[in-house]
Symmetry: C2
Subunit: 324 residues, 2 copies
């Protein structure tokens, strides 16, 4: 089991370390990438030898972050993982697991952190790892340069949906203010991170809207995407995931359903609810699970069966009469 | 011409006033409504008689703001306009113009403010009138209650597209942090303000995506909505306005065009550009105008003519060869 450490201890470890390897989680997002980029720059400015490694390539979106990829040219003496909640989340490629096994320090904000590292600086109250890393880096005695600020802002902004999600706190906004004062170019970053949709995303959005149906006096909205549609657009998993919020976002809709066909023909169903409707109860009756407002399940069989099964559970939850 | 006043003076005027009428701009948005709601609550807490008036009804979205509508039951001794840049923007209904003519004070953040009030507290560096009103209200000696914080957060968040637009500054985030600490319920507000789309909006989005076309090696994207489509969905002007950012938001698109047919059959064209492309130069050649990244013009005649005319100007601006 890991040792929980406070910020002072984590700062001391980083300051005394050298030949440092920073590890990100697989399918890297803005927070793990921004954390790695910021910590890399900070350690570099202290004259240390440092590099970054991840199971997957860093998405092009984040190519403004400047760090050296680990090429095996030095033997890491200190391994630090950023924003990675469990060993499985490191992935398997690029030999990452070899270094995970001897992770000296983990800096994270996921309450679910499994404690795989020798020491862990965990702050579940932070909206993003980058939010807590801002304090860590300043306490290391490093000036927050515009480049570091850009990295940290990326993590804070992406993990909060640009300050829209419920994890956003006063401290998140204070961090954003400090990063802007330090020179974060938020005009460029916000456009890049939040105003840009891929062609695939636009195509799948169009198909999703074409498939939109309403049920139970428009209290329930459903979109449905077939395996062919998903593969022909080439849409990324994260973009598809984003779409699941669409049906629920429509005025008056209490239950939003997204049906995504899998390769084997079965349907993965995302249930999003508002008001007092329990998404988890709907999903659980079909063998799935999740949270009160976001849950999911899988149903095999053809589209009509899947629709009928999920709508029947939604009907019960909404207290609507059985339909003819 | 108006007298420019500093915050201290504006605070003194408000503290010594009574029988106060607060005026909003027509087609009220989150900032003018939030400003009115917050100032109403603040003045009320100082024991004053106060009411709010606007040429148009306040949208249902903002019905959590608690203030009294002016019903003529008292004779206003002090008139204060919030977030209104010019006399025309007050509108004509509900007798507002009668009170505009004797506006004692205007509190605003629009650099274009025409100076119609006797005294004006103008801060063009503020992202929203609510951002500067936070300091005004605190300096009035009023505690920022959760209700006041909700009103002010509404203005700050809506005028910045939830901290996404380029008017967002460190001070904007600091204001948000203070409002959260004062009890603003941002989880509820963000869902209400940013996660809810009307049925009309969803329908028009679908039609817009169906009409999407690309030109000049996908450097230009165009959506087109006919008068029939616009009227049949019953979409609000502001929702339609939002859509104009869609074509430009697609990966690789430098020029985004939105063609909206008017009642007389002519087309209103919105031009949005990225990178180095000058939207204003495109629009100006067709008799329109605007800014470098957002401009507009109108073209009469049928859809094919309108398309051809605008695409020809886009082609020149992009330096693309003439098409066969």
């Amino acid at each position: 089991m890991t040792e929980s450490v406070d910020r002072q201890t984590a700062v001391a470890r980083l300051r005394s370390a050298d030949d440092i390897l920073i590890l990100c989680h697989k399918n890297p997002d803005g927070d793990t990438t921004g954390s790695a980029g910021a910590l890399y720059q900070a350690l570099k400015s202290l004259g240390k030898n440092v590099a970054v490694l991840c199971s997957d390539p860093i998405p092009k979106t984040y190519d403004y972050m400047d760090f050296t990829w680990f090429d095996g040219s030095f033997e890491p003496a200190f391994v630090v993982a950023v924003d990675v909640a469990s060993i499985q989340l490191f992935g398997e490629r690029n030999n990452v697991q070899e270094y995970v096994a001897r992770a000296n320090l983990c800096i994270d904000h996921h309450a679910s952190n499994s404690g795989y590292a020798f020491e862990t600086l965990l702050d579940p109250g932070a909206a993003a790892t980058c939010e807590l890393l801002l304090d860590v880096i300043q306490e290391m005695g490093v000036t927050i340069t515009p480049a570091i600020a850009n990295c940290l802002y990326t993590g804070v902004a992406t993990d909060t949906g640009c300050f829209r999600f419920t994890n956003t706190t006063a401290r998140t906004h204070q961090a954003a203010a400090r990063l802007i004062e330090a020179g974060a170019d938020i005009a460029t970053l916000n456009e890049r991170l939040f105003e840009c949709r891929s062609h695939a995303r636009i195509q799948i959005e169009r198909l999703a809207l074409e498939s939109l149906e309403f049920f139970f006096e428009e209290r329930c909205a459903m979109i449905c995407l077939t395996w062919d549609q998903i593969t022909s657009t080439g849409v990324a998993g994260s973009e598809l995931e984003d779409l699941t919020s669409l049906p629920r976002s429509i005025e008056g809709v209490e239950v939003g359903l997204t049906l995504r066909q899998q390769k084997d023909g079965s349907f993965k169903i995302s249930v999003r609810t508002g008001g007092t409707v329990d998404a988890c109860r709907i999903a659980r009756r079909l063998g799935g699970g999740g949270h009160t407002r976001a849950a999911g399940c899988e149903i095999s069989g053809n589209l009509d069966n899947a629709k009928m099964a999920i709508l029947d559970e939604v009907r019960k939850e909404l207290g609507e009469p059985a339909q003819a």
